[in-house]
């Protein structure tokens, strides 16, 4: 019998963990849906100056860039999105009179890209499609001279491509200071100053002259909080990418990044050669706005897509396939068994007395549905009011059910009164679960007042405090957002909870409270034994 229980319990404990392992490793589902913390609201307004066709780069998702809620609106133009190998270009033809504007908005989410190791690269041949990244633009004599002399100074000529690129990077990054006024290559090399674009151009030319595929990336840097506060205008910025060991490595000589694209850099277009002409202010005026949206929630949609893509029946059993209101309901309900775990530990292992068995959990749910402070305040006031009411009703000699119902009605009256006076319906609006606590609170008032009469104030207070303490512990547990999502994503963990409950249920040892209860007995016994 004993071994059977142990085996059964072990199964309950570990089968869900096995399923979890299977889901993560074989179905490639995430344990938790990805966390969405920061995303950016991106708004772009473009007003072309010419009356004819115009083009402008738009963000396109790449590994590390997620785009959602994309919208394009235009006054009077017809817009075509051209998908190119390097980016998206919006092409529109100005149909009407005046300058038709195009408005683009999207939510974007940028993850950083980091390469840590860079091996030597001796690649000789590149695919034909790479020719455009190897073609050195035409240079003036002055520019050529400046670049050639720099190459003589910093390169030895026999190093591998990776080492050569690093040397070029260090020079452009460190020896040319950022100066928006200097826009000519030879001038920049001569004075040691240069605009971001000219620095990117120098790096690009020098890389290509070493027969390394390279391109200038047009992007936008998301603002720092200070920049956001000062509402500084957002401009295009430029960085580079070089093709080393079959990978495009990001390089930024303006912000000193090699092999790293930070999460504040949004790539708009990967080939300046093609898009540069559209960005010129002669062609269009543009206005970019990026606002930070702090979020701390989990992206359930992404996980749902994962589930839907997976072909396993196991994944198909997911709660994510339910309609959204049902999902919300279950994500709260699934926490209740965790609450019972807290309750079982508190009652059976520690020995905290509670008012009724599940009252603490109902109270926890009430805290969660409203808020902790309000929940506690509301509970205390209701209980206080209820006890006074019961004291008054006692004089009427009413039968129990009508009396309880009157208390219940008073609780509701109080809620209405509170909501009207405070003018704050927020706590009760659309809180379907708030109905449960009303009934529970009402029955508790009855129990509490009987307890007060029969067991006295001290015992009642202990029980009340115990109830609230467990409710608070439960609330703390319920407040861990990843726990709620973990249970919702993997409801089979409920079997693990059952397993743990069996373990607690089989515990026959002492409760912590019994240490206190029998402490005097132990001490007196020792005194008596010592006296003999």
């Amino acid at each position: 019998m004993r071994t059977k229980i142990i085996i059964f319990t072990l199964c309950l404990l570990f089968i869900p963990l096995g399923i979890l392992f299977y889901k993560v490793n074989y179905l490639n589902l995430s344990i938790l849906p990805q966390k969405v913390d920061d995303f950016w609201h991106f708004h772009l307004t473009i007003r072309p100056r010419s009356k004819d066709t115009a083009r402008f780069p738009l963000p396109r998702a790449y590994p590390g860039l997620r785009i959602s809620d994309e919208k394009i609106v235009s006054d009077n133009s017809e817009i075509i999105i051209e998908h190119q190998s390097d980016s998206n270009l919006a092409k529109w033809t100005n149909l009407g009179e005046g300058r038709g504007g195009v408005f683009y908005s999207a939510k974007i989410n940028i993850d950083p890209l980091v390469y840590k190791t860079f091996h030597k690269d001796y690649t000789q041949y590149y695919p034909r499609s790479f020719q455009k990244y190897l073609k050195v633009p035409e240079l003036t004599a002055e520019e050529l001279e400046a670049i050639e002399s720099l190459e003589v100074a910093i390169l030895e000529g026999d190093e591998d491509k990776t080492s050569a690129i690093r040397k070029i990077y260090y020079y452009v990054d460190e020896e040319i200071r950022r100066n928006f006024g200097v826009t000519k290559i030879h001038e920049s090399l001569f004075t040691g100053n240069g605009s971001p674009l000219v620095k990117a151009k120098i790096f690009n030319i020098m890389a290509r002259r070493q027969r390394v595929p390279a391109r200038i990336v047009v992007g936008i840097r998301t603002p720092t909080p200070q920049e956001e506060a000062s509402k500084s205008k957002i401009r295009f910025t430029y960085a580079n990418e070089v093709y080393l060991n079959n990978k495009w490595i990001p390089v930024d000589t303006n912000r000193s990044y090699f092999g790293v694209r930070p999460d504040n850099f949004l790539v708009l277009h990967r080939n300046y050669d093609e898009v540069g002409k559209y960005l010129s202010k002669k062609n269009a005026s543009y206005n970019i706005q990026i606002q930070r949206a702090k979020m701390n929630r989990f992206n359930k949609e992404v996980y749902r897509d994962e589930v839907n893509k997976s072909n396993s029946w196991l994944a198909k059993l997911s709660l994510y396939r339910l309609p959204l209101p049902l999902q919300q309901m279950f994500s709260t309900i699934l926490l209740i068994p965790l609450g019972t775990l807290v309750l079982a530990v508190a009652r059976n292992l520690i020995g905290i007395p509670t008012l009724g068995i599940f009252t603490p959990i109902i109270l926890t749910l009430f805290f969660k549905e409203t808020s902790f402070g309000f929940g506690l305040f509301f509970f205390s006031v209701i209980v206080g009011v209820g006890i006074v009411e019961r004291y008054i009703l006692d004089k009427f000699y009413l039968l129990a059910v009508p009396r309880l119902s009157i208390i219940l009605t008073f609780v509701i009256l109080f809620m209405i009164g509170y909501t009207l006076i405070s003018g704050d319906g927020g706590f009760f609006s659309q809180r379907h679960l708030a109905f449960f606590p009303i009934v529970i609170v009402a029955t508790n008032i009855e129990r509490l007042s009987i307890m007060l009469a029969e067991e006295g104030f001290i015992n009642t207070s202990k029980t009340l405090v115990g109830t609230i303490v467990i409710a608070i512990l439960g609330y703390l547990l319920f407040s861990v957002p990843s726990l709620e999502v973990l249970m919702f994503t993997n409801p089979e963990l409920l079997f693990t909870v059952i397993g743990l409950l069996i373990l607690i249920g089989k515990y026959k040892g002492y409760r912590l409270s019994e240490f206190l209860r029998f402490r005097d007995l132990v001490r007196q016994k020792k005194n008596l034994e010592g006296g003999k």
Binding site: G351, A400, R517, K525
Partner: protein, 317 residues
Amino acid sequence: MIFSNLHRLGILGINNRVGRYILRHNKRKLYPYVDNKVLTSKLAEDWGIPTPENHLVIKNYGSLKYLDQKIAHLDSFVIKPAKGSQGNGIIVIKEVIRTEENGVTKILCRRSNDKLMKFEEVKHHISGILSGLYSLGGQSDEAIIQSRVEKHPIFNDYSYGGIPDIRVIVFMGYPVMSMVRLPTKSSDGRANLHQGAIGAGITLSTGLVNHAVIGKKLITHHPDTGNEIKNLVLPHWREVLDLAAKCYDMVGLGYLGADIVLTPDRGPVLLELNARPGLGIQIANLAGLVPRLELISANADAERDFKARVDFSMKHF
């Protein structure tokens, strides 16, 4: 380990009591015989076990209307919820005062703590019992109007107000531990340890008090009467244990608490049975239950009758 002292003394904890003794030895279907006092007293009648007389069992609100006529012949009585626990909802009326006013009989009831209750209040209390205020789990209940047992004169010097009762824990038919609960002023005349009554452990072999406590504190003298509690010698002790041991044969619960009162005329009388007897008895005896329970487990013999079982217990405990 903080529990090592409790282990050494063999203290029975709640989890152990439930998991190893109550769940294993008490069949659920037998619970009604102890949880419902109406059933207990019927069963006891069949077995020839003395219990207080039930004058009246009130089953519905309608019978409250003529309650005054139904109790017209009573001068004292006790109101109990049939399914109550821990003495909750019990009211002892020691005197019924009837006065005529303009041809209408007014009834006042004097409780054991000398407080006066209007008859209306008595009825209200009973209706509370019927709606399940005091019952286990809050189900609707019946109210018993029971004859009030007299206090045995031996207790006059050792109790204040109400009537002391003797709790005997019976395991597999063997008495294992016992205590007498002596009401005090602070317990409002009730024999309830939680409310401040004295718990005095009784050595099974002799019927003598071994220790006495109020709450967790050891005491030697009754706080209200000032008498030394160790001088209390319980009369009819063997009969008390015989009665307790017979309760096992009667209800078949392996782990049982029998509450017994001593009456001046009838000797020991069974007040009620408890399928989940409390653990405070260990404090009153300064001893743990576990070694005794284990001794019984190892030596229990189903063939022994109650006399042989009591012999065994008196020899060992």
